[in-house]
């Protein structure tokens, strides 16, 4: 390499190492400038990564935004809506006093934006997905990505003008979410569980203890039951499917409570397209906007 006065290849290399070293240890609050740079790099790489993703989608049974079986998809959609409405009714009962005083609750509305997944994280340890819908389309932090109709894929954890970053619910760092499992079709209240990703593609967590009837019979969920989203931070997305219960155990700390393991029905590793559900402005509760990044 050429030597030009003070600037030599050796010094350039040393400077690059020092810059990498300094950047690697900069506190997160001083790294705000990196995200736009990252956006530029992602846009540069996007043509090839889109092609690679398209090829891999052709080679695998990729999950799409709509359910492959239209009839089953319609059934799931109705089931999801009913469960969501049941939870909303329970919530409305709790806020009846506020309504009597003249407050009007906003109608739950979401805007749905279908987008192609064009890349997965380059780092081996991270499992985020990049979806070709961004702030220019109205996507906001905390929006929820779904596939196959109403199956939760993950939450939008970062937004750039041209794309957004979706963290799958099963990603190890996705955080705890609240889901409700209904013990039977007649059960309208369900049992709430706090589900935390385990790291093996499942979510696991304890539930509340609820009894019914005069004999105070505990409500118990069974294997195969469906867990639906009921997280207070995401009221606009209640009723979406989180997954199916694949294991039920007793809580060692409190034997009357159940601990369930839920596995999503969609394979988050092979997603071709997703729908981003964006709460309409004015409807987004405090929680709906709480997925803010650093």
């Amino acid at each position: 390499m050429a030597t030009r006065g003070l600037i030599t290849s050796g010094r350039l290399l040393a400077a690059a190492v020092v810059v990498s070293l300094v950047c690697a240890f900069l506190p997160m609050r001083m790294l705000g400038w990196v995200t736009p740079v990252s956006g530029v790099v992602i846009r540069l790489v996007a043509p090839v990564s889109s092609l690679g993703k398209w090829l891999s989608d052709q080679a695998s049974r990729a999950e799409r935004e709509a359910h492959p079986d239209a009839e089953l998809g319609r059934f799931e959609e109705l089931e999801s809506l009913v469960r969501g409405q049941q939870m909303e009714i329970a919530e409305l009962r709790a806020t009846l006093d506020a309504l009597e005083q003249g407050d009007v609750l906003p109608e739950a509305r979401v805007r749905q934006l279908a987008g192609r997944v064009f890349a997965t994280a380059a780092s081996r340890a991270e499992r985020t997905l990049l979806v070709r819908r961004g702030s220019a389309d109205g996507v906001t932090l905390g929006s929820v990505a779904v596939v196959r109709g109403r199956h939760v894929l993950g939450v939008v954890s970062a937004v750039e003008p041209a794309f957004c970053v979706v963290t799958p619910t099963v990603s190890r760092d996705a955080g705890t979410l609240e889901a409700t499992v209904f013990a039977s079709d007649a059960d309208t209240e369900g049992v709430r569980f706090s589900l935390t990703p385990v790291g093996d593609g499942t979510l696991r967590g304890p539930g509340q203890f609820r009894t019914v009837g005069v004999d105070q019979r505990p409500v118990e969920v069974s294997l195969g039951a469906t867990a639906v989203l009921s997280d207070p931070a995401m009221p606009s997305h209640w009723g979406l499917f989180v997954g199916r219960v694949v294991a039920v155990d007793a809580d060692p700390a409190s034997p009357l409570r159940q601990v369930i393991t839920v596995r999503p029905e969609v394979d988050t590793r092979r997603v071709a397209r997703a729908v981003i559900r964006v709460p309409e402005s004015g409807n987004a509760g405090a929680g709906d906007a709480s997925g803010a990044g650093p």
Partner: protein
Amino acid sequence: MSIGVFAIVLWLVLGLDEGVSGLLRVGQGGVAPSLVLPLIVFIGLYAPQRAATGAALVAGMLIDLLTFRVLAGGGAAVVPGPNALGMALAVQVVLAARGLVFLNSPVTLVVLTPAAGIVWQVTTVCVLALRGVYDDTGSSAGSMLVPGLLGALYSAGPALVLWFPLRWAMPLMRFDSPHVARIGSRR
């Protein structure tokens, strides 16, 4: 070394890596191979020392810029540096070993890729673990190490596949190292 050709090859490999890693991922634990790692090992085998280290730094930094780390409190952030330092150290393993190996054999790339990958992953995890002392970096370092190491071993597969196109593109890359001239005369 031709920087232009390297940039194009890196662009292609990085894009493919981003696009197909979901397909190549094994299990739900996040074990996936890297396509960039064999490229950097290949560069390390043939390029001059400084050019190889510089290429590794650039590739690592681009991986950092393409990686959104999920933070514990929600949200995601980009942390530049850990993969750049990891790649720069990984290529030193190749530079140290290249005098002892058969440069004309794909087995060399297949064997050195996991070795360099282990250094890459251990360095990256160490940097993130040190960051974790004072900052939120999402995953605990320990939980990233095992999938990272398995991914490094898994990268031997793509290394075998990449050997042939990289070897074909080798004259375009114009590695002007003395040892390359030596093996070039035997091709």
